[in-house]
């Protein structure tokens, strides 16, 4: 444990990160920075850029009032005949000064309050956060207006007042981030060594809180700039400092509207929009960098299926004399992103017979879940069926229209998802979610019988009727998994696909759920495709086993053959990693390495780099799927007849 601790927790969490490199890759943030840079340059070199002196009224006559844009005055003149372009350029200064200094005050106050609340916790936190909540509710702009109106509207005053009322969001964000960082290992370790609070905050917590503070600071700056311009617009501005809001106030209250002097009204606003938009873009860009979002969601239209290869006769599996329910023929699935294609599943065929339970095994990343999702076309948006058919009742699921497929989902083939995850909607009752499935597929289900049917289903999986109207968060992990099974059975499907339904549950509950599933299968005559990486489960429940590796079928056989006479080295290695109580005691070994990355598949056999018995041919030529018996297939050069 100790060794691990020192290994996994570097003394200083701060790594030298090239921030510029990260930021420059985000186009939104880059545009924001560029726009801010322009504003800063204009502010710095205002005297060089402006064509007149804003303070002098030399040479201005009454005929200069509200002149439209001309060669002499690029952006026209204002109510006292001054050059708007000049005022506009100088106005940049006030906005940036207020934005910078006011937000500096806000962030220092908010940062200290947030750090203290998060770090000390307890009463300090309670008091500070209650105070923050109160300040957050009190509308800040009216308060700022009142205070500036009661004091003097000098630039200093405005900066100060905006600054001391703009800290609430910062305090909240910093507090929650501090709380998250505080319990990390390196902080606990620093405490254990006896580092002082001050040292811990400065050296360990602040560096990790800082990135979020920077994003927040950008928003604080833009809201300070907006506050200043609003104050100036309603008449609270420093008469000695020209600002955009002030220009608008003068133009608006001194007749620009009635004489049609649009330039006096449009130009200053453009400055505010420029700077606020720049900050918003930068803030958004940085936010994207800090919290990268998934590029897709479940409702994005999927990629169409197609046939990339000539139809080959699919391999037949199973010795069952029962009729075939689900016939998977030469199925291939690709993931396409940024024009790059990765083969996730390649040429997999098998038949699921009535009442049969096939276990789909392999390590994580071997294409099990992809294959399962492809069967009813639940692949993520980047996934596509690039070859093959999924025949169910004479229809090819890979080629159906969305609507036809929707009608078959759940009523023909249902899916048991991992219940410990978020597979149930947290804001709807469990009973409601089961009813919904029934009503979708049996629209004329008698309303009176509906409730009884849901109770019957819950009873089937051992949940008492009183839990029907409870929400998922009121269920335990095991109950949630049972409820999902009940939901999967609600429309009397013939095929149930179970995707590692017990992974996140404890061993006792796991056993219960599996027994339940097996019992229901026999009772209701279901055909089940069971995805797992637990060979123990497979031995106990399955009729046949499909071992997948790197997206291809490694071996397929009935369960006895797989356990007693596996032929593929991968199956053999997998079995060595699991304890078998029926056989003499032996050492458990794991397979070194990990499954190949889908975008970098080895040229020959996909298992060759990890295979203990690989020879020269394996790294050059992919093995074909060889038939070894009536119901035994393996893809390995060693089994070639």
């Amino acid at each position: 444990m100790n060794v691990q601790l020192t290994e996994s927790s570097p003394a200083a969490p701060v790594q030298r990160v090239n921030y510029w490199k990260i930021v420059s890759r985000n186009r939104v943030a880059l545009l924001g920075i560029l726009m801010i840079a322009v504003a800063v340059i204009v502010a710095l070199f205002a005297p060089l850029i402006a064509r007149y002196d804003p303070k002098s009224s030399e040479g201005i006559s009454s005929s200069d009032v509200y002149n439209p844009p001309s060669a002499k005055h690029w952006l026209g003149t204002d109510d006292v005949g001054k050059d708007i372009f000049t005022n506009f350029v100088y106005g940049t200064r006030v906005s940036l000064i207020v934005g910078f200094f006011a937000s500096f005050i806000s962030i220092v106050i908010g940062g200290i309050i947030g750090l203290m609340a998060g770090f000390y916790g307890g009463r300090v936190e309670n008091f500070l956060m209650r105070f923050t909540d109160i300040m957050l509710v009190i509308p800040d702009l009216p308060l700022i207006v009142v205070i500036v109106a009661l004091t003097k509207a000098s630039l200093m005053n405005i900066i100060f007042v905006i600054g001391i009322f703009g800290w609430t969001t910062t305090a909240r964000i910093v507090r929650s981030q501090t709380l998250a960082v505080k319990s990390r290992k390196f902080v606990l370790r620093a405490k254990a060594i006896g580092a002082g609070n001050w040292h811990i905050v400065i050296h360990h917590i602040l560096p990790l809180v800082l990135p979020i503070m920077v994003v927040n600071a950008i928003l604080v700056v833009s809201s300070a700039i907006l506050s200043e311009s609003t104050l100036a617009f309603i008449g609270l501005s420093d008469p000695t400092a020209i600002s955009w809001g002030q220009m608008l106030n003068f133009a608006f209250s001194r007749g620009a509207m009635s004489v049609g002097a649009w330039w006096a009204l449009v130009v200053p606003g453009f400055g505010i929009v420029w700077i606020v938009l720049a900050l918003t873009l930068l803030g958004n860009g940085l936010e994207q960098i800090l919290n990268p979002r998934l590029e897709s969601h479940h409702l994005m239209p999927g990629r169409p299926s197609f046939q990339s290869e000539a139809e080959a006769a699919p391999v037949k599996t199973g010795k069952s004399t029962a009729p075939v329910l689900l016939d998977v023929q030469n199925l291939s699935v690709n993931y396409v992103s940024d024009g790059k294609v990765a083969q996730a599943v390649r040429n997999v065929s098998f038949q699921l017979h009535e009442g049969e339970l096939i276990g789909l095994v392999g390590e994580s990343g071997c294409g099990k879940t992809t294959l399962m999702m492809a069967l009813t076309r639940l692949l993520p948006a980047a996934g596509e069926i690039s070859n093959g058919h999924v025949i169910f009742h004479g229809k090819d699921l890979a080629a159906l229209t969305d609507e036809e497929l929707s009608n078959l989902r759940w009523s023909g083939i249902s899916v048991v998802f991992q219940g410990a995850m978020n597979a149930l909607n947290p804001v709807r009752t469990v009973g409601d979610q089961i009813e919904e499935a029934i009503l979708k597929h049996i629209p004329h289900f008698p309303p009176k019988a509906l409730s009884a049917r849901v109770e019957e289903l819950l009873d089937l999986v051992g949940i008492s009727a009183e839990h029907k109207n409870h929400f998922p968060h009121q269920y335990s992990g095991g109950m949630r998994q049972r409820a999902i099974i009940a939901m999967a059975l609600s429309c009397n499907p013939q095929v149930v696909i179970a995707d590692e339904p017990t992974t996140a549950l404890d061993v006792m509950i796991q056993a219960q759920i599996l027994e339940l599933l097996d019992e229901l299968r026999k009772k209701l005559g279901l055909a089940v495709l069971f995805v797992t990486h637990d060979l123990g489960i497979v031995a106990e429940m399955c009729d046949s086993v499909l071992v997948m590796y790197g997206g291809v079928t490694a071996e397929y056989a009935d369960v006895d053959t797989i356990y007693n006479a596996p032929r593929h080295p991968y199956t053999q290695e997998l079995l060595k990693a699991f304890p078998d109580l029926t056989k003499p005691e032996r050492r458990l070994t794991s397979i070194p390495g990990s499954p190949p990355k889908l975008d970098a598949l080895p040229p020959g056999c996909r298992f060759a780099p990890r295979c203990p018995v690989a020879f020269e041919r394996c790294s050059k030529e992919a093995p074909a799927l060889h038939r070894l018996g009536e119901n035994h297939l393996a893809s390995c050069h060693l089994v070639e007849a």
């Binding site: 209650r130 109160i134 957050l136 509710v137 009190i138 509308p139 800040d140 702009l141 009216p142 308060l143 207006v145 009142v146 109106a149 009661l150 004091t151 003097k152 907006l226 506050s227 311009s229 609003t230 617009f233 309603i234 008449g235 609270l236 608008l248 509207m257 449009v266 606003g269 505010i272 929009v273 938009l277 873009l281 958004n284 979002r293 897709s296 969601h297 479940h298 409702l299 994005m300 009813t376 497929l405 989902r409 759940w410 009523s411 249902s414 899916v415 998802f417 995850m421 978020n422 597979a423 149930l424 909607n425 804001v427 919904e436 499935a437 979708k440 597929h441 929400f471 968060h473 939901m487």
Partner: protein, 342 residues
């Protein structure tokens, strides 16, 4: 039971916040240099007797608070006075009687003026908020559903630009446009309208309400759209959406029955938190369109140094925001079952 408990707790905090606002409001106006005694009665033309009479009339002759010298560096109080005779106690007492003082400018009770104006503001905010929420939500949902398409990027860009527009400037631009397209440029009704039939009065009101409401809607719609979009993008990548899809539900059913309620939760929070901010926008809109509401009252009070009005308007605005926030909190706990049953 938990829900009731939560409601009590929230109500208590709201009351506490209101008390804090009352105290803050009182002391701001007594402590800061622009206090009524100096600002309102500083006219050199007044004789000392008149000043004294005015001070008595506004209650400024009494000590601000009872003996508080030890902790009070500004020495506001005086000892040996009846605590009930201090300005603070009188102020609080008057508040409970609904008396907010007399406006310097109108020379009428502040509460009478603000009472009419409160409803005008509620009308503007209510209408604008409903439109902004509806349009913003619909637009946000659509953008999230069509993620990474031209529709989505277009929504994002217009949203960010609209979000960056200063409210008062947008108002000015719309006013500029509206004044040349037959829209009234200020106020709530055309003078003399009250003698016309009711339908015409309503039509006149709608005409006056149009531009302020559009301004309000554009500014807040953008924000709600951006929040709804990002919250819905999160929701649509959740496992339960995949479950709903596997169940065979249509896209419309999934959006309506599974995504909307979850996706709305952050929006409700933001609406609640932003109520204070919304009021800031209302001040700007009402100033531009001379809409006779609370924000306009604040604007006028600033420009006329009408302190009783400023104080009253601020108090009413702050209290309304606290109450609205309380309502939003309740809505949230109604939407998210995890809050009530924890």
């Amino acid at each position: 039971m938990n829900r009731w408990h939560l409601l009590q707790k929230k109500a208590l905090w709201s009351l506490f916040t209101i008390a804090f606002v009352i105290v803050l409001n009182f002391f701001l106006f007594r402590v800061l240099p622009g206090d009524p005694a100096r600002a309102g009665i500083k006219d050199p033309r007044l004789t000392p007797e008149t000043i004294e009479a005015l001070r008595t009339r506004f209650g400024l002759d009494k000590p601000v608070i009872n003996c508080f010298k030890t902790i009070n560096p500004l020495v506001l109080g005086a000892c040996d006075v009846n605590p009930l005779e201090t300005q603070f106690v009188i102020y609080v007492k008057n508040l409970f009687l609904g008396d907010l003082g007399v406006s310097y400018y109108y020379n009428r009770p502040v509460e009478d003026i603000l009472k009419e104006r409160l409803w005008n503001t509620i009308l503007l905010i209510g209408l604008g908020q409903i439109l902004a929420i509806l349009i913003g939500m619909a637009y946000g949902i659509f953008a999230a559903w069509k993620a990474r398409t031209v529709i989505d990027y277009g929504a994002l860009i217009t949203g960010l630009i609209a979000w960056s527009l200063p409210t008062f400037w947008l108002g000015i631009i719309l006013l500029f446009w509206g004044s040349s397209h037959g829209f009234p440029i200020s106020g709530k009704s055309t003078p003399g309208m009250s003698s016309y039939p009711l339908m015409m009065q309503i039509g006149d009101l709608a005409k006056h309400l149009f531009l302020p409401t559009v301004t309000y809607t554009i500014v807040y719609m953008a924000e709600y759209m951006l929040i709804m979009r990002s919250s819905l993008l999160d929701v649509l990548s959740e496992d339960y959406i995949l479950t709903a899809k596997a169940k065979g539900l249509s896209v419309f059913q999934i959006l309506k029955d599974h995504a909307l309620k979850n996706g709305m939760l952050p929006l409700v929070t933001v609406i609640a938190i932003n109520l204070g901010y919304t009021v800031g926008g209302v001040i700007q809109i009402e100033s531009v369109f001379s809409w006779p509401g609370l924000g306009g009252a604040l604007y006028e009070a600033v420009n006329r140094t009408d302190f009783p009005m400023l104080q009253g308007a601020f108090l009413l605005i702050a209290v309304s925001v606290v109450v609205a926030n309380f309502i939003a909190d309740l809505t949230y706990s109604y939407l998210d079952p995890r809050v009530q049953t924890g």
